[in-house]
């Protein structure tokens, strides 16, 4: 039962995604005003040649702070899982 339920779900998903594939045209973005702003003013405002880096660290810098927090979270999570072997900050007592 579970198997053909999953296959049904996959067919529905395939149908939905074909709608998605038909909606966009490769090579010609529908709208690009925000990105044209970045390309035009990115270098001038932030004095950085690499526009992607200027977006990552300045225009959308808060995302990158959130993202390095994600990595920090993963490190703390993994350290909690293996605190028995490598010892957490205070070695396990129980």
């Amino acid at each position: 039962m579970k198997r053909n339920l999953t296959i049904l779900l996959l067919l529905v998903l395939a149908g939905m995604l074909l709608v998605l594939a038909a909606g966009f045209h490769y090579g010609t973005p529908l709208v690009s005003d925000m990105d044209d702003y970045f390309i035009r003013f990115g270098q001038e405002q932030i004095a950085a040649n690499n526009i992607v880096c200027s977006i990552v660290f300045d225009y959308r810098g808060f995302d990158t702070l959130g993202e390095s927090t994600v990595l920090f979270c993963a490190v703390i999570g993994v350290s909690l899982m293996f605190r028995r072997f490598l010892g957490g900050e205070d070695d396990a007592d129980e």
Binding site: A47, N49, N50, L65, V78, F85, E89
Partner: protein, 155 residues
């Protein structure tokens, strides 16, 4: 379960070059493709190289865990400090007042293609370094913890 002498020796020789290349990628993030995360990951492969070559207890002796935690927290503090620096001058959070300001990393950049100057882009290099340190410490810690969980029986 140490590797053979040859592997350990070549790992020792290779390690500095991997770290230098990683630092290059981190430092030149705002000019060439790359940046904090990619550079940090490259340097973490250097750490992975050493971990593979040596046994775990040697690596634990070589890289103290406290140092890695310190490295990780300092990287993150430098990053959020760079963000908060704007607020001290009554600007909003994450304002890049170093760019085009003439001081550290403050050189303006002529518009259009140019050979690229290291001393530009205000807080970007500082944030690149911060994220590079954090990813370096973080990935190495993940590797050490996951390696420590291998091979031990029972819980």
């Amino acid at each position: 379960m140490q590797m053979s002498k040859i592997v350990r020796l070549s790992a020792d020789i290779m390690y500095p070059f991997v770290v230098i290349f990683g630092l290059y990628v981190i430092m030149h993030g705002h000019i060439t493709p790359g940046g904090g995360f990619q550079g940090g990951a490259v340097v973490a492969t250097g750490a992975a190289l050493v971990i593979v070559a040596y046994a775990l207890h040697d690596v634990k002796a070589m890289i103290p865990k406290v140092l890695l935690y310190l490295q990780e927290s300092m990287g993150l503090l430098l990053f959020i400090g760079a963000g908060l620096a704007g607020m001290l001058l009554a600007f909003p959070f994450f304002f890049n007042w170093l760019a085009n300001s003439g001081s550290l990393f403050g050189m303006p950049v002529p518009f259009g293609p140019n050979p690229g100057e290291l001393n530009t882009a205000g807080f970007l290099p500082i944030m690149n370094i911060a994220v590079g340190i954090e990813v370096w410490g973080g990935l190495t810690l993940i590797l050490l913890y996951m390696l420590s969980g291998v091979g031990k029986e029972g819980y």
